[in-house]
């Protein structure tokens, strides 16, 4: 299952989709909206995407994972639009005969997704700032003057 949606993620269905009699382990990773990052309070996030490319890249990511790791099945969901605190932004499910492979594949998937898939996160902070998260770029340049400290993303960054 590969899904890009504005609706809340049905990660139970995602997990179910990777279940198999060949698997001894299944791993479900959820990225959720965190309230505090480096002392800054997030109120909500807004995710936008180059949707058609993102969907194709997610399918490619799934295929790459199945080729690179001895896993049974892989599924990925990513949510778009406005997310509140605690909401799930991304769900990744992996099943495998042996658990070490599920852990390694799952980490590779979320790490690579964050590098490769054309999806962008806009932070809405409690102090009124609205800022695109651009890992590797100086922050505070886009939506605001350069008075802001470096800030990480408010999901599961770093």
């Amino acid at each position: 299952m590969i899904q890009l949606t504005h609706e809340p993620l049905d990660h139970a269905a995602l997990l179910q989709s990777v279940s198999s009699h060949q698997a001894g382990a299944a791993l479900l990773f959820l990225g959720t909206v965190r309230e505090f990052t480096a002392g800054q309070q997030t109120l909500q996030l807004n995710y936008t995407a180059y949707e058609s490319m993102a969907l194709g890249q997610l399918e490619q990511l799934q295929q790459d994972a199945l080729q690179q790791f001895p896993v049974t099945a892989v599924g990925i969901q990513h949510r778009l639009g406005e997310l509140a605190l605690g909401d799930v932004s991304v769900a990744i499910a992996v099943s495998s005969p042996h658990r070490a492979d599920a852990y390694e594949c799952s980490r590779w998937l979320i790490d690579t997704l964050k590098q490769r898939i054309p999806i962008w996160k806009q932070e809405h902070y409690a102090d009124g700032r609205v800022e695109w998260q651009h890992p590797g770029e100086p922050t505070g340049q886009v939506a605001e003057a350069d008075s802001e400290p470096q800030s990480g993303a408010s999901t599961d960054g770093q």
């Binding site: 932004s89 979320i110 962008w120 695109w132 993303a153």
Partner: protein, 91 residues
């Protein structure tokens, strides 16, 4: 630059902008008239000339042609969809 002055060989390319890139140029789509043989690098130069703050504020832009990440050497064809991709932050 290998631009050919033959107007019969002109081609139209659509460029999509996302997230901070769209905010900077204040639009999400740009249509460009180019010539046969032009590369993605040529297109980037045109855009950076028109909106210098694009490369100043976003020094590590990536680019895609027809939904695949592309190198500056990529030769553009009529109807290609180019995308200007700021550093991604999904997940």
């Amino acid at each position: 630059m290998k631009e050919q002055p033959d107007p019969a060989a002109a081609l139209t390319v659509t460029v999509l902008f996302f997230a901070a890139a769209a905010d900077i140029i204040q639009r999400e789509t740009v249509q460009l008239q180019l010539h046969e043989g032009v590369t993605l690098a040529d297109l980037q130069q045109q855009l950076y000339s028109r909106w210098p703050e694009l490369s100043q504020r976003l020094p590590t832009l990536m680019w895609a042609v027809n939904e695949q990440y592309a190198t500056p050497q990529t030769i553009l064809r009529a109807g290609d969809q180019v995308a200007c991709i700021p550093p991604v932050s999904g997940g």
